[in-house]
């Protein structure tokens, strides 16, 4: 009798799915904050932009938004890359590229917000 070969799972599917949803729920209040502050900045960019991150609430919300959105974005981009790029080599390359881009952007963005918070 021929033995059925079960292909090994990557064991990341459900964890990936749950994290996508959790970060989505976490971003609902953050997006509402972003819209209000975007309108506020648009009223007077010259006067408001330099001191925007000096307020503790804005700095904290900004840092959480950067982390949550880049995390949510890299999970989503990973799904899109897995769907549309069939070449396994290329697929893993682009997934790693997205992770690297998100990771470095998150660190640089957090540092910049902390700097604006301290000097603003």
């Amino acid at each position: 009798m021929k033995k059925i070969k079960i292909s090994p799972s990557t064991k990341t599917g459900s964890h990936h799915w749950i994290h996508q949803r959790v970060s989505a729920v976490a971003m609902i209040p953050l997006i509402i904050w972003l819209c209000f502050s975007g309108v506020q900045i648009a009223q007077d960019p010259q006067g408001y932009l330099p001191v925007f991150f000096a307020y503790p609430l804005n700095a904290v919300m900004g840092i959480i938004l950067v982390v949550a959105s880049l995390y949510h974005g890299s999970l989503g981009m990973r799904v899109i890359i897995e769907d549309y790029i069939s070449n396994k080599m290329k697929m893993h390359f682009y997934i790693m590229l997205v992770h690297f881009l998100s990771f470095s952007t998150a660190i640089a963005g957090i540092l910049a917000i902390i700097r604006l918070h301290l000097i603003g």
């Binding site: 609902i28 819209c35 309108v39 009223q43 989503g76 640089a108 963005g109 910049a112």
Partner: protein
């Protein structure tokens, strides 16, 4: 060449609201991902300027007007993408708790999401510039 029958490709199917919202969710997601990265690096650039809040050159040339116009249209499109992804994301979260799967509800909700995203984008820009 490959003689196997292939499944009908995307241009065979009739467009409807539910498939359009699904495709637009992905497209807006990609656009938002790259815009988040661009905004983050803009904040980095802004934070490490020497004199924050002081513009160095203040020319009245046409290129600056063009840049401002392009920037505003990009912000307008991205605001639309953000609201759209936000509302459609909430619809996805309702699907995850097993609500809104009936064909009629799904169709109505697709139109509702597009309508809400349009209204909110226009309202945001109206408030930002005329208030």
């Amino acid at each position: 060449m490959n003689k196997k029958p292939t499944s009908p490709h995307i241009q065979i199917y009739r467009w409807n609201a539910t498939s359009l919202t699904s495709i637009m969710h992905r497209a807006s997601g990609i656009a938002l991902y790259f815009s988040v990265i661009a905004i983050c690096w803009y904040i980095v650039h802004y934070a490490y300027q020497i004199n924050i809040g002081i513009e160095e050159e203040n020319c009245d040339c046409w290129s600056k007007g063009l840049l401002k116009c392009l920037f505003l249209s990009a912000v307008f499109i991205l605001t639309g993408a953000l609201y759209y992804h936000f509302f459609n994301g909430i619809r996805h979260l309702f699907w995850d708790i097993d609500k809104g799967f009936e064909l009629k509800t799904a169709k109505t909700n697709s139109y509702l999401v597009i309508f809400l995203a349009t209204i909110f984008t226009l309202a945001t820009f109206g408030i930002a510039f005329y208030l």
